[in-house]
C-alpha cells in the first residue's frame, strides 16, 4: 500500500484545518467534520518498476449517509486510477472515508 500517499496534496500548514486534516479538494463542504478512515478496495494490475512515471486521476464517485448508533454518518468514495505515462493501467483504488 505504499502508493497510498504518493498522490495526496502536500499542503501548507496553514491549509490544514484545526483538527490537523487536509481537506480533500474534491469534496464539497459537509455539515459533519470528524473524519475517519473507512477502508480501501485496490486492484493491482502490474508491479511498479523503478523509473516508471505514474499518473493518477482521482474522481469523487459517491456520497451517502447512514444512521449510526451515535448519530448520522456521511460516507464518501474516491476512485483513483493510476497509469504509467504511456497509459498502461497500474492500479485502481477506491477509498471510503467517513465523517461523523
Amino acid at each position: 500500500m505504499f502508493h497510498l500517499a504518493l498522490f495526496w496534496d502536500m499542503v501548507e500548514l496553514d491549509q490544514l484545518t484545526p483538527d490537523g486534516v487536509s481537506i480533500d479538494g474534491l469534496l464539497p463542504k459537509f455539515p459533519l467534520e470528524k473524519a475517519m478512515a473507512g477502508g480501501l478496495n485496490i486492484e493491482y494490475f502490474r508491479p511498479i518498476k523503478a523509473e516508471d512515471v505514474l499518473v493518477a486521476t482521482r474522481t469523487l464517485t459517491n456520497i451517502y449517509e447512514k444512521a449510526g448508533s451515535q448519530g448520522p454518518i456521511i460516507f464518501y468514495e474516491v476512485i483513483m486510477r493510476v497509469e504509467t505515462a504511456g497509459g498502461e493501467l497500474v492500479l485502481t483504488e477506491k477509498t471510503t472515508r467517513l465523517l461523523r
Partner: protein, 140 residues
C-alpha cells in the same frame, strides 16, 4: 526442490498472523509517512475531549498495511497480491494489542490464484478490520 505453495493449497488453510502493539512513536511515524496530521493520532487531549475517543486512535490504513503484510509474508515471494479490500469497522487505540490472520477461501489451480479472507482482531476478539485478498502465484 522448490515446491510451490499452490500445489497443496486448499480452502480453510490458515495464514499465520502477527500481534501488533504499536506505541505512539510507531503510530506517529506511520501518520507522518502518509502526511496525515489528524490530531486523533497523536494529541491525547484533542482525541478524548474534542472527538470523544477513549485514547489515541491507531491509523486506519496501518491496519490495512498489516493485512497486506499478512498476505505478503504468507506468499513468501511465490506470487503477488492482485486485489486487496478491507473495511475499518471499529477503531483501535494505542495500548491495545491487535492480531492479524487469515484463511484460504478458494483456490483456482488452473489460473494459479487464490482468494483469501484476512482480518485484524482486537483483544476482545472483535474483527475490527475484515478484508479479502486475491493472490496470483508465479508460474512454476
Amino acid at each position: 526442490m522448490n515446491m510451490s505453495k499452490l500445489t497443496n493449497l486448499k480452502p480453510g488453510d490458515a495464514l499465520p498472523g502477527r500481534d501488533y502493539c504499536p506505541d505512539n512513536v510507531q503510530n506517529f511515524m506511520y501518520s507522518a509517512a502518509l502526511w496525515n496530521a489528524h490530531r486523533i493520532h497523536f494529541d491525547m487531549p484533542y482525541a478524548t475531549e474534542v472527538e470523544g475517543y477513549p485514547g489515541i486512535v491507531m491509523s486506519g490504513p496501518m491496519l490495512g498495511d498489516w493485512l497486506t503484510q499478512c498476505v505478503i509474508e504468507w506468499l513468501d515471494g511465490q506470487g503477488r497480491m492482485t486485489h486487496l479490500e478491507y473495511s475499518n469497522r471499529k477503531a483501535a487505540y494505542i495500548g491495545e494489542t491487535v492480531t492479524s490472520g487469515g484463511r484460504v477461501l478458494s483456490v483456482d489451480h488452473d489460473n494459479g490464484s487464490a482468494r483469501l479472507e484476512i482480518f485484524i482482531q482486537n483483544e476482545a476478539g472483535d474483527v475490527i478490520a475484515p478484508g479479502i485478498a486475491v493472490v496470483a502465484f508465479d508460474k512454476a
